[in-house]
């Protein structure tokens, strides 16, 4: 066990006498915690790590890695204390990011680390009493939160000492404690809400979507925060004046700080500081008295008991899904349709695929918002192509689906259940390339049709047919790039390769970056020839012809050019 875990363990074991009076077996408690902390250190660090890597190398020292990342973030947060003069703004901003970070990363860690369903099989059959088990779980969560919270607030605490002295720090720590308690209440409430409104089987996928949201939020914050600060928009108004400000929980803790250090008798501040104390107390009461019993019971459902018979699905004909309809329309029956149907479903259902590709949707949104910020305002008129100033922005929008398409293309051959690809090896298909083509078409159907419909309809309704040539060229170019990346990558059949540390075989990551650079160059070329409609149309035809040629080439790819994972032989 490393130094930090050992230190925190001895710290949290200090009130051993108190635990003993609660009926806890101290030796067993220490043993359980040691076991859990050693395991934490060997779990891959969760932050931003959205998929399980199939790696042979054992994970070590995640604690140090996590500490480093959280300290860096903590350092980043002190930015808030240097813009504007109003401490209430500083603290509201800091508590906002603190609560969001803590809540989101704990929601993810709760299922992954803190509430381990294997405990039911491993610890519960052993003679450990409920109190010991419960206290072990609570202390494990407390240690976990400390490891995250301390590096997040420590840099800010130093700034608070410098700006407001020791008294300011004491008030800050009090507010922090309450904010942390409030975050724990939020996590519990989120869990119960998810469990209340969805089936336990869906639970894990909802947590995954939260994780995707988290990734986008961090990326978006990284892109947008500096711009927000530059705008110095926020400096101009006083938070205390906003009538709805007490709907923002972070304001409560900021106002508590204000009222403890330099009381100002403004109604909002008074209400806020009452809420800062009242809400966490009420929250923790709810968690202990109401949530916790229901919580444990519900959690046992997530693991699912093996004795439960599978739910019977009603027999009878299933209606055709969108995927089935599109596949009938754009693929030929046989291997190609199989490639399409398989990829369509795998892309929608496979956790690791979604984790890698869906954040792209968020990135596109962030990109568009950043673009909006540069324009300072967003009117429909900034998308009119007769004004040459708007053209680059329009092209950014037109080519933004590439982010998604390229991400999908680079993930298409990877899967956690890659071993299932034996079915290809056993199949008597003459042209395995058709399977690959089917899967590329599935990417087009899932990630190109909808964005281009949206962009196309809004573009044409604003600009009329003048929009068409550029629309056509951007669609042609992106399709061509998709096929090109697949041609380079496509010694592989869809979902037939293990996910390794470097994401595929390393080259696919490099290919992805290369593809983005090429897309960038294409955007510039497109921008340069924008007004020459005939040249644009000619290039569109050329790109589509190249696409068709690559399609042919992939179709005719023989078995000997297909690679399988080494272990699958």
């Amino acid at each position: 066990m490393n130094f930090i875990n050992a230190f925190l363990l001895s710290l949290f074991m200090k009130p051993a006498g108190f635990y003993k009076r609660l009926g806890v077996d101290i030796t067993k408690l220490k043993s359980l915690l040691t076991c859990k902390l050693i395991m934490d250190d060997r779990q891959p660090f969760s932050f931003g790590q959205s998929r399980q890597k199939e790696t042979k190398e054992p994970v070590n020292n995640s604690t140090w890695l996590a500490l480093g990342v959280y300290s860096l973030m903590g350092l980043l947060f002190i930015i808030f204390f240097f813009f504007g003069e109003s401490p209430i703004l500083h603290f509201t901003a800091f508590f906002s990011i603190y609560i969001v970070m803590l809540t989101l990363s704990l929601i993810i860690d709760f299922t992954r680390v803190l509430i381990d369903v294997r405990d039911n099989f491993i610890i519960l059959p052993k003679p450990v009493n409920d109190r010991t088990f419960l206290v072990a779980r609570i202390l494990h969560i407390a240690i976990h939160i400390s490891k995250m919270a301390i590096p997040l607030f420590l840099p800010a605490a130093i700034v608070v000492i410098i700006q407001h002295g020791i008294g300011g720090l004491a008030a800050f720590l009090l507010a922090l404690l309450l904010a942390t308690v409030f975050s724990i209440f939020l996590i519990n409430a989120t869990y119960l809400a998810i469990l209340r409104f969805s089936k336990p089987e869906k639970f894990k996928s909802i947590i995954n979507y939260l994780q995707i949201g988290f990734t986008i939020l961090v990326y978006g914050g990284y892109q947008l925060l500096p711009r927000l600060i530059n705008k110095s928009l926020l400096e101009k108004f006083d938070l205390n004046e906003l009538p709805w400000i007490n709907a923002v929980p972070s304001y409560w803790f900021a106002s508590l700080w204000q009222m403890v250090t330099q009381p100002v008798w403004i109604p909002n501040l008074i209400i806020g500081s009452f809420l800062a104390i009242g809400m966490p107390v009420a929250g923790i009461y709810l968690v202990v008295k109401v949530f916790a019993p229901a919580f444990n019971q519900k959690l046992s459902l997530i693991s699912g008991t093996s004795d439960n018979a599978p739910t019977l699905l009603s027999k009878g004909k299933k209606s055709l899904s969108w995927g089935d309809r599109i596949s009938k329309w754009i693929t030929s029956p046989g291997p190609e349709q199989m490639g399409f149907d398989l990829s369509w479903r795998m892309m929608l259902r496979s956790r690791e695929f979604k984790m890698q590709v869906y954040p792209g949707i968020g990135y596109i949104l962030v990109l568009l918002i950043v673009f909006m910020f540069q324009k300072n305002n967003l009117y429909a008129s900034s998308f009119l192509i007769n004004n040459p100033e708007n053209r680059f922005g329009i092209l950014v929008v037109l080519y933004s689906p590439a982010l998604l398409i390229m991400a999908a293309a680079s993930q298409l051959h990877l899967s956690q259940s890659w071993k299932a690809s034996w079915i290809y090896q056993m199949s008597p298909a003459q042209k395995p390339g058709q399977i690959i083509n089917g899967s590329i078409k599935a990417v087009i159907a899932q990630f190109m049709i909808l964005p281009f419909l949206l962009i196309g309809i809004s573009g044409i309704s604003l600009n009329g047919v003048a929009m068409l040539p550029s629309l056509l060229l951007s669609a042609g170019m992106q399709t061509m790039m998709l096929y090109l990346v697949s041609l380079i990558n496509n010694a592989y059949l869809p979902f037939s390769q293990p996910i390794t540390k470097s994401g595929g075989d390393g080259t696919s990551v490099a290919n992805g970056i290369l593809a983005m650079i090429i897309i960038g160059i294409i955007v510039f070329i497109h921008w340069g020839i924008f007004s020459n409609i005939w040249l644009v149309l000619t290039l569109a035809v050329v790109s589509l012809s190249i696409t068709w040629l690559i399609h042919k080439r992939i179709t005719n790819k023989p078995w000997r050019r297909i690679s399988f994972a080494k272990d699958l032989a």
Binding site: C35, I38, I122, P127
Partner: protein, 279 residues
């Protein structure tokens, strides 16, 4: 059914180790156990068999004190599982069906922690589990993380963790899954020796051939009730000298297996010949 128990122990004086009376258990609306009555005596090896979903694992988990929400009475050495689950857990060694363990730990770490939970002194525990793992051929893997272990190796670690505290009652849920032929022989041998030394073994499985060979008494459950109970000889005598596999099939499947096989064969000609063959 009541009479049958007395075939084994006619003397009223012997106290059963496991007493299950009128046990009911439901998961939400689904009733899994519908009144199980069973007494198990010291030194017996009970083969607890039944089709998937019959309630085998549920029974095992209830005896271990893992599921508290049940109706009826379950006692281990006279101690009620409901009233004093901790005392029962001390008497029991449990080997779960899935290879559920913390695979980021090494066997040495894992077993040391488990020993703490059974209050075995570390030194003594280490001597014991090192010996047991060496016997299983895992002496070189003692300090290796279990992530890389095969299913059989994990199962061996689990068996050691279930036996380490020298329990009086051993409950095994499919303990042989993933083990190779040699290890199966070792475990079978081990179970006989344990029973001979007075341990009571509750063995839940659907590997008929193993159950037939090692069990003193076979309890077959189906749809949450006991469908047959007795030694293999008794069952054979009642059911017309069949193998356990056949007895099992007769008692648990609705239609004869040959009908199922015929239906499967029918699928090939379903367009032209279905009507003729079913007519």
């Amino acid at each position: 059914m009541e009479k049958m128990y007395h075939y084994f122990y006619p003397m009223e004086s012997i106290q059963p180790v496991i007493e299950i009376s009128n046990l009911h258990k439901s998961y939400s609306k689904n009733q899994v156990l519908k009144g199980i009555n069973l007494n198990v005596y010291p030194g017996q090896i009970i083969g607890y068999i039944g089709p998937n979903g019959a309630g085998k694992s549920t029974t095992a988990k209830i005896i271990c004190g893992l599921l508290s929400n049940f109706e009826g009475e379950v006692r281990v050495k006279g101690i009620s599982v409901k009233e004093n689950p901790l005392a029962v857990k001390k008497l029991i060694g449990y080997v779960p069906e899935l290879a559920e363990l913390y695979e980021v730990l090494t066997p040495h770490e894992f077993l040391s922690f488990m020993a703490d939970l059974y209050e075995i002194p570390r030194q003594q525990a280490e001597e014991r589990f090192t010996k047991m793992l060496s016997a299983f051929g895992l002496s070189n893997n003692l300090h290796q993380r279990m992530e890389t272990f095969s299913k059989g190796m994990r199962q061996k670690v689990l068996i050691v963790s279930g036996l380490m505290h020298n329990p009086e009652v051993i409950i095994l849920d499919e303990p042989l899954s993933g083990l190779d032929a040699n290890s199966v022989i070792i475990v079978k041998e081990l179970l006989s020796k344990l029973a001979a030394s007075g341990k009571t073994i509750f063995y839940s499985s659907h590997m008929m051939d193993v159950v037939e060979k090692i069990s003193d008494r076979i309890v077959l459950i189906n749809h949450g009730v006991i469908a047959a109970d007795g030694t293999i000889e008794e069952l054979r005598a009642q059911k017309g000298n069949l193998s356990l596999e056949k007895i099992f099939a007769n008692l648990t499947s609705q239609g004869a297996h040959s009908d199922v096989a015929a239906e499967i064969m029918d699928a090939f000609d379903f367009i032209t010949e279905t009507k003729e063959s079913t007519a």
